[in-house]
Symmetry: C2
Amino acid sequence: MLLLLHRAVVPRVRQACSLRSTPSRLCIQACSTNDSLQPQHFSLNFSGDNSGTKGWRIMGTLLGLGAVLAYHDHRCRAAQKSTPTYTKEEVSSHTTPETGIWVTLGSEVFDVTEFVGLHPGGPSKLMLAAGGPLEPFWALYAIHNQSHVRELLAQYKIGELNPENKVISTWDASDPYADDPVRHPALKVNSQHPFNAEPPPELLTENYITPNPIFFTRNHLPVPNLDPDTYRLHVVGGPGGQSLSLSLEDLYKFPKHEITVTLQCAGNRRSEMTQVKKVKGLEWRTGAISTARWGGARLCDVLAQAGHHLCETEAHVCFEGLDSDPTGTTYGASIPLARAMDPEAEVLLAYEMNGQPLPRDHGFPVRVVVPGVVGARHVKWLGRVSVEPEESFSHWQQRDYKGFSPSVDWDTVDFDSAPSIQELPVQSAITEPQDGETIESGEVTIKGYAWSGGGRAVIRVDVSLDGGLTWQAAELNGEEQRPRKAWAWRLWQMQAPVPAGQKELNIVCKAVDDSYNVQPDTVAPIWNLRGVLSNAWHRVHVHIAS
Amino acid sequence: MLLLLHRAVVPRVRQACSLRSTPSRLCIQACSTNDSLQPQHFSLNFSGDNSGTKGWRIMGTLLGLGAVLAYHDHRCRAAQKSTPTYTKEEVSSHTTPETGIWVTLGSEVFDVTEFVGLHPGGPSKLMLAAGGPLEPFWALYAIHNQSHVRELLAQYKIGELNPENKVISTWDASDPYADDPVRHPALKVNSQHPFNAEPPPELLTENYITPNPIFFTRNHLPVPNLDPDTYRLHVVGGPGGQSLSLSLEDLYKFPKHEITVTLQCAGNRRSEMTQVKKVKGLEWRTGAISTARWGGARLCDVLAQAGHHLCETEAHVCFEGLDSDPTGTTYGASIPLARAMDPEAEVLLAYEMNGQPLPRDHGFPVRVVVPGVVGARHVKWLGRVSVEPEESFSHWQQRDYKGFSPSVDWDTVDFDSAPSIQELPVQSAITEPQDGETIESGEVTIKGYAWSGGGRAVIRVDVSLDGGLTWQAAELNGEEQRPRKAWAWRLWQMQAPVPAGQKELNIVCKAVDDSYNVQPDTVAPIWNLRGVLSNAWHRVHVHIAS
């Protein structure tokens, strides 16, 4: 939660109007806060975005976001003055103390170089917006929506955005990614096509529930644009049962089940493996993990309606996405039938994410959520479900997302020799401070997350300031975990005195789950050619300001 | 499996008669072998041992074991000759190449000093019998029961045991341990009272199923001597149900369920933690783990008959043993009701171990077997079962068998802050070669075991010859593991060339389970004041013969 200066003495202002009203079932609270302000309605991807016809949807979205916070009066006044104007390109080149740090709000441009160090939420969070608009960040943190914040900001105004400076359409019918949704600027992009991005560490553990716009995104293909009215989920019938073709309305008729689940990509923290030896894969840092409250029908209920039962022989539930490559190959994955049919495993066909329809990047209108299991099995834009004697034949089930010995290389790898990743091992990482940062002497605050697969609860996080020689248990925060159903992460923190005279700290964290599994000490012995399952102790080296 | 010289050309001899016939349901095959010889019937503890009245049962047992292999003719001939006689004490003082290595078979004494290096099963296995009788070891390895083995042994005969040299009774009515059963001499004893012992590494992984006589024994109290005819298991009834008082015959009426389960003590490999810093506990090496085929009634069936159902609120099944200390305090432990009631978790009230009634040391007549869970919850000599809102209040549930951060000491420990150990983390160890051993150059054979808690299958064991810099995957042996029910270990082995010119090897192993959890690299960061959960990489340092 952000600190707020003079909060008590500043009168609250009327709620900025939202772009559009949303039906109550679909209402989104974009940020989680203890503040009693009404939530802002901020959504780059909402159900109306998915209404079928392709076309211009990007134009004006970024600038239009100014309306989220609706500085109407202010803007009107500003427009009447004669002030310097800047292009967006000019603004975007001001991101360092040397060039000056500029941001925009609506059409106004501010030089906040001198304010960065005073930012109550910490300099690093304001720096996320450097060179661009504040709106996407303020939408995550409703606390900014107060008059004294605007007054404070007004002091740093240096001009206006050039009114000619409109977003140019990049629509290109031959580009399969041209219709991908607009994303939040805070996301650290690992690849644009397909889109893969993670929230920065500064934001990742600010909220127990990750706001939808910064939830990590792992796409394998272009984002399909599906019409919720014509969408159908095909469920192949079981022996003696019958196949189903379910509309969204049909899915809503199943009992609605809501659970908080952390999703993690198998490649989370791959960048640390790359430092040992090159691997094939996206350079995820610590942010390929996020947590949401998912709502939907239980897979076991849907399968039962199609006539499926648990059988004695091993079987698998295969999922096919509606995302496809130019050859028509769709994304696919599978999970064991035993997990799918176990009501306690709570596998969902989710149509809601944090009280909203799924954003397009997260599978609109329906995705699978498999609590405790690697993200790769949570198939998005779900089109087809079937029960098969074998695992999904898709590339991502058979020839990817498997772990190997460090000795295995691309010449010797035998993908059939390793099981597909399902449950993930225990994991934790430090999100504050960051590697290479200079911190004040006195006391250091260390924050991070911890999670384990298979519903295993995190029972302890040990933190070391001396590279792993001595340890202290951190304080665990976040929701209490249910036995055997600890699907969501624990956030943790520790305040510790910085040992006097110390010039640097080697901060390390490691978590323990309720099977008392622990993280390995080092990366090299778990290195594997695909760079998955990177769960060694997380290490952060910081300097102490003298 | 032992190598056998000239096996094909030596005719098989008639099966040595067993001490007593056993009903077919209780028949024990003491050793597992591919040889087609009939199994020997070898049992230090069989159901007749538990027939109620206390008395002399020890006298003659050790010597009497000679009858297991019944060298009647041989002994008769030997008795007619005038040969030197030796006391058992004299024999037991000959255990090194310097003193000579003596063993006995029946009443005969052999000096096998020169044969040790020629032993087809390896010198270390024969050395286990040095200074004592061969029978307990030959009973484990039926392959010895062939005439050429006896002929070979006869060459080393040096005399007879002194016929006056009888076992002296040590019965002492004031000693609560006086009635403990006789144990196999191969067991490495960590404490006599209560009895705690492990099989030596040489024998531990010789068989996928651990022979009962060398199954590791972890007792907390004296072994009770229970009469199977009057034995009753008290099961407290559930809401609307009724309490049960079950005789053994009553238990036999429930559907019999048989499963192969590995049991591991939480303190297995504690001796490695002690090397980091002193801990409180028995000095287990790598042998506090063993595997048996258990037979019994499923706990869920018995609980259902007593009117118990799975409930929404968290509950626990509490077990009380019939072993007690002088104050009447009995051993106790508990497991979550959800596990107990889950048919897939296969929790047993076991009355058979490898086709035999439970040996006294392993809980005769009934013990709990909780697949995938720490040994401490497998309550032996089971007297009482109840369902409670809280975990067992016993010392061993509340104030022991929990894991803590390395920083926690006996002044700061808060046992309420940590969950009781249930599922155990992934584990592996090397059983061959042994630490400090000198091995031949050329090729080295490395063997060991690997196991994980919670039914998670072992999917890979990596072995390093260079202290962990490079790794190779070992070959996994033993039974195929069932998905989600991998209750038993995998044995593994690897043949590797010894790098030329090498003077020593630092052999290391680490296992991976199907949640891709791995073992931590080092012991110190998982050190805890009770020395439990010691599952760092296992390291063995060996010298290469020049």
